[in-house]
Each structure stands twice: as structure tokens, then as C-alpha cells.
């Protein structure tokens, strides 16, 4: 994992922790650096993970600027489309969530400046983590239109990545990944195409037309547009495996963007708040399987 975009003192501290157990680094200017270590909140000190905030490295605005400058290679303009969406992606595919001052031109957001917080997500590759749900997703030699649902930080993207690998390896059908945020960097395979950094809607339309996928995999359906894109793909005969934030079927149905009848399988994760643990699987009519 390439964390070389972090200031030296952070790297010294991180050098003393098991990076496989690290899932998040949170930086807030003027406050101790918080890490999610072994899925528990800890602080980052020069000596590694600690439970004591007073021993932690204090995040300074220079640290935040250093990270932004290193990741963007001093070229914010080249990353502004993503900055406007509130995130950056490092060369190795780590996503950095940004908080700062939004600059508007009328209704349109121009950029974000004076960054005050960063949330660095460390994706953990868990090979084989989708085995438990694969049998619910598979339908002869193709897959069901499947929606993977959980609250944030419950392993949806990790499961999607592994599902993509599984579909590629076991079904050997053409998979198109709409990688809006560059998080599927390490997911490669002989049947896998990837459209990076495009909007989902563009990816659905363009991808379906020119790449002829059999399955489209897409992370985090958020807006009505995203759902419409899924419907377009479905109506074109392309299967879709997607993820979405929610915690139960009631809240999912309450979502303004939700379109009934799009998906044939609803996979809920995060049973007992355990990351990646399968809770239940529902069919298209919301019957438990």
C-alpha cells in the first residue's frame, strides 16, 4: 500500500502498525490524528496506534496541505472535478474525502479551498469475502441484478471488488466496472473492463453501447440518475451488481431515488454491526431467501 503522500511523522507512526488492520485515517486540523485500527477508533502517535489522544500526532494545516500537494502533484486544477465532488484519489487508488470551504459561482460549485479535514480510506482487499453471497448472486451462467446494501464502512466496496473477481474467474463473462472514484484499481482480469472517473450515467450509457458488457458492477448508487442508469442497463439486457447505503429494507424503500423492480436480489451486510457479515438476502419481491 502506497502511503508515501503522507508527511514523514505519520509514516513513522504507521510504520509501527499492522497496515492490514488499518481501514481509515482521519485528519482534522488542530486535533489528534484518528485511525480506525482493527475496526476500533485509535489515535496515531509516532510510536504507532495509541488509545491516548494526548500522545497522538497533532494534525497541522501544513500536514493537510502537504498531502493535498503531494497527491495532486501541486496541480489542484488537474483534480478539480473530483475536488468539487469532495474527494481525491491517490495514484494507488486510495480515496481521500475532503472538507473545507466551498467556492461557488452562482449555483455551481467551483472548487473547495482551505481544506480542514481529510478522511483517508484504506481499502482492504479480502480475497474470498464474497463467497458467502456468490450463490445468491449467481443465476446459471450469469448473475441476478443485485444490490448490496449496508450503512457506510461495512465492506460493500470490498465485497463488490471480490464479486467482480469471482464473476470474472468463475463465470468468465464480460464484466464492466464503473469505477467513479478509482477505488477498483487492483481489480483486474481477462474479462474485466473499467471506466474510471466517469459519472455513473455516462458509464451506463457509453459502456453498454460500446463495450457490450454482460455485467456492470458499480459502487454507491446515490441519485435518481444512478438508478435510472441501472434501469437503462437492465432494459438493455445487461445485468447490474451495485451497492447502496442503507441499513434495512424500510429505509431503502423510503429513499427518493429507489426504483422498485430494478433488482432481483437485495443483499444486506453488517449483521450485528460486524463489517462484511451477511445479514440477509431478499429476492425482487422482498422475500427472504
Amino acid at each position: 500500500m502506497d502511503l508515501s503522500f503522507l508527511p514523514k511523522k505519520y509514516l513513522i507512526g504507521l510504520g509501527k502498525v499492522d497496515l492490514d488492520k488499518l481501514s481509515e485515517i482521519r485528519l482534522r486540523v488542530g486535533f489528534p490524528v484518528i485511525i480506525s485500527y482493527n475496526f476500533k477508533k485509535s489515535y496515531l502517535s509516532i510510536d504507532g496506534a495509541t488509545l491516548f489522544g494526548d500522545k497522538a500526532i497533532l494534525c497541522q494545516s501544513e500536514d493537510v496541505n502537504f498531502i493535498i500537494n503531494t497527491v495532486t502533484e501541486f496541480s489542484l486544477y488537474a483534480h478539480n472535478d473530483r475536488i468539487r465532488e469532495g474527494y481525491l484519489v491517490t495514484k494507488s487508488g486510495l480515496r481521500i474525502g475532503l472538507a473545507g470551504e466551498c467556492v461557488y459561482d452562482g449555483e455551481k460549485i467551483l472548487t473547495i479551498k482551505n481544506f480542514s479535514s481529510l478522511n483517508i480510506r484504506i481499502p482492504n482487499e479480502v480475497f474470498g469475502c464474497s463467497e458467502g453471497i456468490f450463490k445468491y448472486v449467481i443465476n446459471d451462467y450469469t448473475v441476478y441484478n443485485t444490490l448490496i446494501i449496508s450503512p457506510p464502512f461495512m465492506g460493500k466496496t470490498t465485497i463488490l471488488k471480490d464479486l467482480a473477481r469471482n464473476i470474472d474467474a468463475k463465470l468468465s463473462i464480460h464484466v464492466l466496472i464503473l469505477d467513479e472514484r478509482g477505488e477498483f484499481e487492483n481489480v483486474v482480469g481477462e474479462n474485466i473492463d473499467k471506466i474510471k472517473f466517469s459519472t455513473k450515467n455516462y458509464g451506463f450509457n457509453y459502456g453498454t453501447r460500446v463495450l457490450s458488457p454482460q455485467v456492470i458492477i458499480v459502487d454507491e448508487l446515490m441519485s435518481k440518475n444512478d438508478w435510472t442508469g441501472v434501469l437503462t442497463a437492465k432494459n438493455s439486457g445487461v445485468k447490474v451488481v451495485a451497492s447502496c447505503h442503507s441499513d434495512n429494507i424500510e429505509n431503502l424503500l423510503r429513499k427518493e431515488c429507489f426504483i422498485k423492480g430494478v433488482f432481483d436480489r437485495y443483499v444486506f451486510l453488517g449483521k450485528n454491526d460486524v463489517v462484511g457479515l451477511l445479514d440477509c438476502v431478499l429476492d425482487g419481491e422482498f422475500n427472504r431467501l
Binding site: 502533484e73 501541486f74 489542484l76 486544477y77 478539480n80 467556492v103 467551483l110 472548487t111
Partner: protein
Amino acid sequence: MRILFGVVSIFICVFVAYSLTSKYTERRIYFKSFSSFNKIMKTELAFSKNSIINIIKKLPDDIFKNSANWFFESGQGDVPIFKNCTDEEKDFVKNYFDTIGKSDSLTQIKFIESCQNVLDEKVLDAETNEKKYKSLYVKLGFFFGLLIFIIVL
């Protein structure tokens, strides 16, 4: 022997005088490359949006590239070229590198356009100075060498 010594003196004096004008040549090269870089940046911002680091990598090896690298990479020691710049020019260069790349394309393009006029003036000024002082220094060197030649004779 005296004639030979005199002739050598003239050559040495002219060479020394010519060498003393190198700061004007360096300044001309610096601002000319700076101006080119500024124009490249404008194109990059409007179209391909390569990172500054990559753009600088592709520049020819000269004093401007060293100076730009100093701002983005080393930041240690003295800024190359600063010994040949006025305080106003130093502020301009520092401000340029503090601002370039640090915002969205539209803001950057406006900034670059505002800098281009200043850079054009600097290039013109540097070229005029180089011509003026190079010729003056060489003449002075020649006359000084001639003086030595006459004294020796």
C-alpha cells in the same frame, strides 16, 4: 614578447568582461523560459491538464527548470537565479510559484493571463539589458586590455 603579452591581455580582459555579462544572459534565458512555461501552463489548463511536475519534467534543462524544481521539490538553500533578480522580481517569482496549481482551472487561467503581461515586460527588459550591457562590458574589457597593452609597450 611584449606585443604577445599585450595581445593576450586584451583577450583576457575581453573574456573577463564577457563573463561578467553572463548574469544578464542567465536572466534573459530565465524569463524567456518562464514566459514559455506560463504559456504552456495556459494550454495545459485549458486542455490536457497534466500536472505541473510532469510539465516541468518536459522543459529543457536550464536555469528556469532548476528554479521551478527548487519550488516544487527541494526548497533547500538559495533559489537559483535570485541573485540576479531585483526584490520586486523575487516577490513576483515567489508569488507565482505559491499560486500556480493551487486552484481550479478558471482561476488559474486568469492568474496566468495576468502574469503573462508582466513576463513579457521582463523578457523585453532582460533582452534590452543583455544587449546593452554585453556590448558595454566587451568594449570596456577591450579598452582596459588596450590600456594594459599600451602600458606594457
